[in-house]
């Protein structure tokens, strides 16, 4: 078994709308995989295909080498899932839901771990779910997921309702899960959320995975920010090859623009034709990178 999750050119249409337009996604065993994209990119759709809730219109999707549609029960035996919008039964208490979900999962759970999770997430399990806030409902689902001892956790925007303190607790349990050799697929629209825990990220946009790889390698994709001060007229730069988002500030007499990593040498050569007072070059932050992706 090479990949835990393997999706090849998976397509999904709703009516005549292409929600997924050929998704390729691979998750290795023991990996925390961040699945990032803007609203409506297709994260939830992808996850629902993995769980066998939706049937793909094309391509191949498998988890643990089991077909996601045909063998979903076998997959469900080894995974745990936290939906994006956690809806619970108003009449049951949080504790009852946690117990029910572990009963239905037919896995032995450790009371000790359960109490530790409830303590750390600071959840009042005696309240009826009807009275829970969004974050509290999410905690119920997260506690059930971490408790389940599943080999793969699939979490759809697990931290969207959590406060910063709880987000930290969540990250601790993610790392603990990883140390036990288990894997997590975690969707989000915010990079900083996954940056701390994920080894690998895939970026999805408009139903396609447009970038995938280790976070450290993705950093190579970031553009360089240039700020150039010069008494000469820099106007010609704006049309030059490799210069993006050129703007000139009259007051400070400085030009600001971005350059793709592959064009940095060419642009530097170009700049050597001018007499410069000052030159600042620094890489974009990852957050900027994602904004690049989100924008175009």
């Amino acid at each position: 078994m090479s990949y835990l999750v393997k999706m090849e050119n998976v397509k999904k249409t709703f009516g005549n709308f292409n929600a997924l337009d050929g998704i390729n996604l691979n998750v290795n065993p023991g990996e925390i995989h961040g699945f990032i994209g803007p609203n409506g990119a297709g994260k939830t759709t992808t996850i629902r295909i993995l769980l066998g809730f939706y049937k793909a219109n094309g391509g191949k999707a498998s988890v643990f080498d089991y077909d996601c549609w045909k063998d979903s029960i076998k997959i469900h035996q080894k995974i745990s899932y936290v939906p994006g919008d956690v809806m619970l039964w108003g009449n049951l208490t949080g504790g009852e839901v946690i117990d029910m979900l572990s009963n239905l999962g037919r896995r032995k759970i450790s009371e000790k771990k359960k109490n530790r999770l409830i303590d750390n997430f600071n959840l009042d399990i005696n309240k009826k779910c009807r009275n829970y806030s969004k974050g509290n409902r999410q905690k119920v689902a997260l506690i059930s997921a971490f408790l389940s001892d599943a080999e793969l956790l699939i979490l759809d925007e697990p931290t969207s309702g959590l406060d910063p303190l709880m987000e930290q607790v969540f990250q601790e349990f993610v790392l603990e899960t990883k140390q036990q050799g288990k894997s997590i697929l975690l969707s989000s629209h915010i990079l900083s959320e996954v940056e701390k825990t994920c080894d690998v990220v895939s970026i999805i946009k408009e139903g396609k995975v447009i970038e995938s790889g280790e976070l450290s390698k993705l950093r190579h994709l970031t553009r360089m920010n240039f700020i150039v001060h010069s008494k000469e007229n820099l106007g010609k730069l704006s049309d030059s090859k490799g210069v993006i988002n050129y703007s000139f500030d009259e007051q400070t007499k400085s030009a600001t623009f971005q350059v793709e990593p592959s064009n940095v040498n060419a642009v530097l050569a170009l700049l050597s034709n001018y007499k410069l007072d000052n030159l600042e070059v620094y890489p974009q932050t990852l957050e900027d990178l994602f904004l690049n992706y989100y924008e175009n």
Binding site: W89, D99, L101
Partner: protein, 535 residues
């Protein structure tokens, strides 16, 4: 109390009225329309005094007294007396329910904190919203009096005079005002909306039952119920005002109490804290069936009780059937259609059929549970566990079928218990049970039909209700409307023989059952293949 508590009450009144004026208007108009139309139709139904006299005797039947209240003025049963006897009680209850709902909607409970926080962050006095609500409820019920007086007097019926009309309006208005204020007090004490609603509606129900007990035994117990007390006004007969005055005084006390309590209370909390007070046993759910039962538990129990009560009530009038049907042409046509057997037996057949039709409602409500779970995304947690769609599907289907069977048994039990004295000479218990159960395949048919839609496309469930509506209409009214046999036979309820007068129709039973099984299986095949949560 300090003035600052009530700062900006006027704005609150405007704010609420702006949003709800149409709802309030529609409510007042509906009550008006109902009252006027009933008065008008009594005039047409019982135009002469002798006929009304007979009805008055009928109304003294204990089960009718329990349902509608005591008969006043039976020696001179005027149209006014008929109106206060037959329409007043139900209207009192409806007005009470509306007022409770309106109050609950507008007070702060722990659930809708964000809205009320927004509201209260404006410079609005702590008790202003409560006072605003009191004012609105007052206006609402005052309009009710005004409308009723005008409406009733316009009818120009002799026995419905000015004095009586004002009293009639006041009784209804005070019912609303009283139960509304009571809800306000309860809302100050508890923060949980459902608890407040439960207590308020519970009290309405309790008052209704209390007066039923008192009215049947004709004793003082009715006076202990606000609803019973209001009925004691004998409106349009004696026009006593004392009950209205008593209720008004109590209402004013309740309002003052609510205002007093409201200044002590935190936003979104109640004066009585229930945290850790209501402890119940932990519910343990181990299977999808357990979940299906758990989420429907209270509804299922209520329906079973309703079926017993209905069976019992329908059964309890079998003995007096002769009297009822003699007086009422419509009912006689309705019940005695092909009368070669006794009236009691014919009536029994009709009731069995009606109860089968009614029994489909809870059956469908319960089976649609599987779709409700999906639509609300709660099913995501369940279906992500190693539970097959087959298991899930039948975890809802089988309990629904068993529940429907129990419903019919409950009805049959209640009916036989109260009616066997009169029908056991013409039909044996086992034949009676076979007659009841001969409709069970029709119930299964509808359960399976809804499963078919849930499997193919749940949005089509409305079609299921439509078919049900058409079939029921054909069955209940078709004959009276004189429609042809062919049209009537479209309804599967008409395909079931009236055993034991007719031979049991095995062929039709097999056809209906086969349809049910086919729908069920096809429904599942589609359910297995379709996307879940894709709406």
């Amino acid at each position: 109390m300090k003035k600052q508590y009530f700062a900006n009450t006027g704005n609150c009144v405007q704010f609420i009225l702006r949003q709800y004026k149409f709802l309030l208007l529609i409510f007042v108009l509906s009550i008006l329309a109902f009252t006027i139309f009933s008065a008008q139709s009594y005039l047409e139904l019982y135009p002469d005094a002798i006929e009304r006299q007979l009805i008055a005797e009928t109304m003294k039947n204990p089960s009718l007294v329990a349902m509608l209240g005591p008969v006043y003025g039976s020696e001179n049963y005027t149209i006014g007396a008929v109106l206060s006897n037959q329409s007043l009680l139900i209207t009192i209850v409806v007005v009470a329910i509306f007022n409770v709902l309106f109050v609950v909607k507008h007070l702060d409970y722990n659930e809708n904190m964000s809205i009320s926080e927004l509201f209260n962050s404006f410079p609005i006095g702590r008790s202003a919203k409560l006072l605003a609500l009191i004012i609105i409820i007052f206006i609402l019920n005052f309009l009710l009096i005004l409308g009723l007086v005008i409406g009733l007097l316009v009818l120009g019926i002799d026995s419905i005079d000015f004095n009586g009309s004002i009293l009639y309006g006041s009784i209804l208005a005070l019912s609303g005002f009283f139960f509304g204020s009571l809800t306000m007090v309860i809302s100050q004490l508890f923060s949980n909306k459902r608890l407040v609603m439960g207590l308020s509606f519970g009290y309405i129900g309790f008052s209704y039952l209390l007066r039923a007990v008192g009215d049947i035994q004709n004793n003082v117990v009715s006076y202990l119920s606000p609803i019973g007390l209001l009925q004691k006004s004998q409106v349009f007969v004696k026009n006593y005002w004392y009950s209205c005055i008593i209720i008004l005084v109590i209402t004013i006390i309740l309002i003052l109490l609510a205002l007093f309590l409201s200044k002590e209370k935190d936003l979104g909390s109640g004066l009585i804290k229930l945290n850790g007070f209501v402890k119940r046993k932990n519910i343990i759910i181990k299977s999808p069936v357990g979940l299906a039962l758990q989420i429907q538990k209270s509804t299922l129990i209520v329906w079973l009780i309703v079926m017993i009560i209905l069976g019992f009530s329908y059964g309890s009038i079998v003995g007096d059937l002769g009297v009822y049907l003699e007086d009422n042409n419509f009912l006689r046509d309705f019940f005695v259609n092909s009368g070669d057997s006794s009236i009691e037996l014919e009536y029994t057949f009709v009731v069995i059929k009606l109860m089968a039709i009614l029994g489909i409602v809870p059956a469908l409500l319960s089976i649609i549970g599987i779709w409700r779970e999906e639509k609300s995304f709660r099913l995501e947690h369940i279906i992500a566990k190693p539970i097959s769609r087959l298991k899930l599907f039948y975890s809802f289907t089988i309990p629904s079928c068993i529940f429907s069977l129990l419903n019919q048994l409950c009805f049959a039990g209640g009916y036989w218990y109260s009616a066997n004295e009169y029908i056991s000479s013409t039909i044996s218990l086992s034949d009676f049970m076979v007659a009841v159960m001969s409709y069970f395949p029709a119930i299964l048919f509808f359960i399976s039909l809804s499963l078919l839609f849930i499997g193919i496309k749940p949005n089509l469930l409305i079609v299921n209700w439509l078919i049900y509506g058409v079939f029921s209409f054909l069955t209940i009214f078709g004959q009276a409307l004189g429609w042809s046999e062919d049209v009537l036979n479209i309804s599967i309820f008409n395909q079931i023989a009236r055993y034991p007068v007719e031979d049991f129709n095995f062929q039709n039973m097999y056809i209906i059952l086969s349809c049910a099984i086919i729908f069920n299986v096809i429904g599942f095949l589609f359910y297995r293949k379709r996307d879940l949560f894709n709406q």
